[in-house]
Subunit: 354 residues, 2 copies
């Protein structure tokens, strides 16, 4: 008898242990139907105040947690948005992600973050993960390698909204959040001109990225405006592999007419360039001035501190998430491919002004 009891108890414990509390349990304990419990828990109307309260009380008492898988299965919604970024080593993307995640959380969405490591193939794999997890929307900044967008267009076709930020896809008609890259580059270069530089080199990015194109054209425009000839020798397209910077900088500085200033596509590039320049023993900014783009955490702390273009990172993340969430739930016909171009700011530091 004792033995029997203890076995029963053991089984009960075993059973309870991994048994998740369901609406069925709540319904049974209150002798009502699970429909009613569901209605209370989803906030549907048409339940008497009394039952409502009873359900709510019992739910908290039993520590009821709704099973999202069951919910998602029937509603075909996941309440999750996906975020795909090329990397999160520099402080740029993490900050954007944090802001976006805040907005998402407030709106009741979970977030799945994936980083493509600047690889096209990984980006595709990430998209599959997002698809498998049935995200309700996707926030994307593409890799430096991405030139084909089929993996992203699938989402559009399936009615899952996409919003691009920073590294956007020009050929897709969806909302995008960018900064005024043209203006930023223009201001950066004009600043270099203002401090008396005339041979300004540009370490540009890969030409599939719109940021590369826009920053390059801003660079060109500033030179033109100030009647400085554009020397193709001073413009180098590179693939953002940081270890190549050394080669390019060495090359530039060994030209018969070396540059007296360098405008880099982004801060990591500028930072690496400065390391190379320092090693060569050249004086910054006198012999060569350097400007970056994005105002990475590090740029204020290094020596010399880096003149750069700051972006409203937090705002980018917030707005991107807001645009996305705004589309989720709305019929595709009401989606609007808004392009938000946020203002930038020139931050002058000692890599250009002693």
């Amino acid at each position: 008898m004792t033995s029997f009891c203890s076995v029963q108890l053991y089984q009960q414990v075993l059973h309870m242990k991994n048994h998740q509390v369901t609406i069925k349990d709540i319904a049974a304990q209150l002798s009502i139907s699970k429909s009613t419990v569901s209605r209370v828990l989803t906030g549907h109307p048409g339940v008497s105040a009394k039952t409502k309260q009873e359900v709510l009380e019992l739910a908290t008492k039993l520590d009821y947690q709704k099973n999202l898988f069951a919910t998602n299965l029937v509603t075909h919604k996941s309440n999750t948005i996906g975020i795909i970024v090329p990397e999160f080593i520099s402080s740029y993307f993490p900050k954007i992600i944090m802001a976006a995640q805040d907005v998402a959380r407030e709106a009741g969405f979970n977030t799945i973050i994936a980083q493509s490591n600047e690889h096209y193939e990984t980006e595709i794999a990430n998209c599959k993960v997002m698809m498998a997890n049935q995200v309700d929307g996707l926030l994307v900044s593409i890799t430096k390698e991405t030139r084909n967008y089929d993996h992203l267009k699938i989402f559009q076709r399936k009615g899952i909204p996409i919003v691009f930020f920073n590294r956007v896809c020009e050929e897709m008609d969806v909302p995008k959040v960018v900064v005024d890259d043209y203006e930023g580059a223009y201001r950066a270069v004009e600043h270099l001109i203002n401090i008396g530089k005339t041979r300004i080199a540009h370490l540009a990015g890969p030409d599939n990225l719109s940021i590369s194109i826009k920053r390059l054209s801003g660079y060109r425009a500033a030179l033109k405006k100030h009647n400085i000839p554009i020397d193709p020798e001073l413009i180098i397209n590179y693939d953002l592999s940081i270890d190549k910077v050394k080669i390019y900088v060495n090359h530039l500085l060994s030209l018969p007419q070396p540059p007296d200033a360098l405008f880099a596509i982004n801060d990591p590039t500028a930072i690496e360039a400065i390391q190379v320049i320092k090693k060569l023993g050249l004086k910054i900014p006198d012999e060569i001035a350097v400007v970056g783009f994005s105002n990475d955490q590090i740029s204020a702390l290094m020596e010399p501190s880096l003149t750069t273009i700051s972006q409203p990172v937090e705002k980018i993340g917030r707005i991107a998430a807001e645009l996305l969430i705004n589309q989720i739930g709305k019929p595709q016909s009401e989606w609007k491919p808004i392009i938000k171009s946020l203002p930038i700011e020139l931050i002058i530091r000692s890599s250009t002004v002693a």
Copy 2:
């Protein structure tokens, strides 16, 4: 008639658009049962080679994607691990996350990343998200505020394995991946002694974090070993709010007998301290030397570059993920609270040696 046809076509199109291909569709097209299709797709044995191939072919042809929600609902597994970190602004946690994510992906797990922003409350909220998403395992580095661990113990109780890394919970008997904080601190301080410093201050972390405690005791041991008296005035516990560093450094340097060296709990602290010291016009390392901990990306690039203790970040991430995945699926009785303590390395730079 035409009208009827077009309506039908329209409905068909409508229906197809958002209709996800299911095993039922595959089964129907091959006139077999969905059980068989399921068995093929889950790799179960007992299906003839012929049907197997047919199913596989049709599945790829129709671009079948299994509905994870349905699968998870019945299996009670999510194939997802959760990662909770206190922040991801410094390069430290992102790098660990990347490595862990790699391991997880290879083992067929998805990842949900959450950052608690160093807030206890947010950490609890993140745990709830992880619970709601029914993660199969959890990788955690706690916040500077976390002193109660109930929100984490719940996972243990529910049979969901947890592995801590870096910032671990001492009172929970689960696997942990750390570095030899004691040894790191010891070596850092001994290095300072070796270069002739005798009044070595320590900006320590909050005393709920084991890293703080261990680094502090390493600091103490090194001083003791070299017969340098421990001056409590030179040890400051702070809460890792970076803006407070200024106050503490100023305070330390205005002491009647100011320190000639500073060992900071981590790199961000050391970096900020250096900024303050530079502003005061003191010479680094002659007047005051500085050592950090963790070898953040930035520490090599700043001026002066920072002497610090480097951690095998990638390895931490990999091992933590491996330990976790190793426990997933195994019965709780077989879990072993392995503590992996990885070796560190002293990186000498110009903040201690001119």
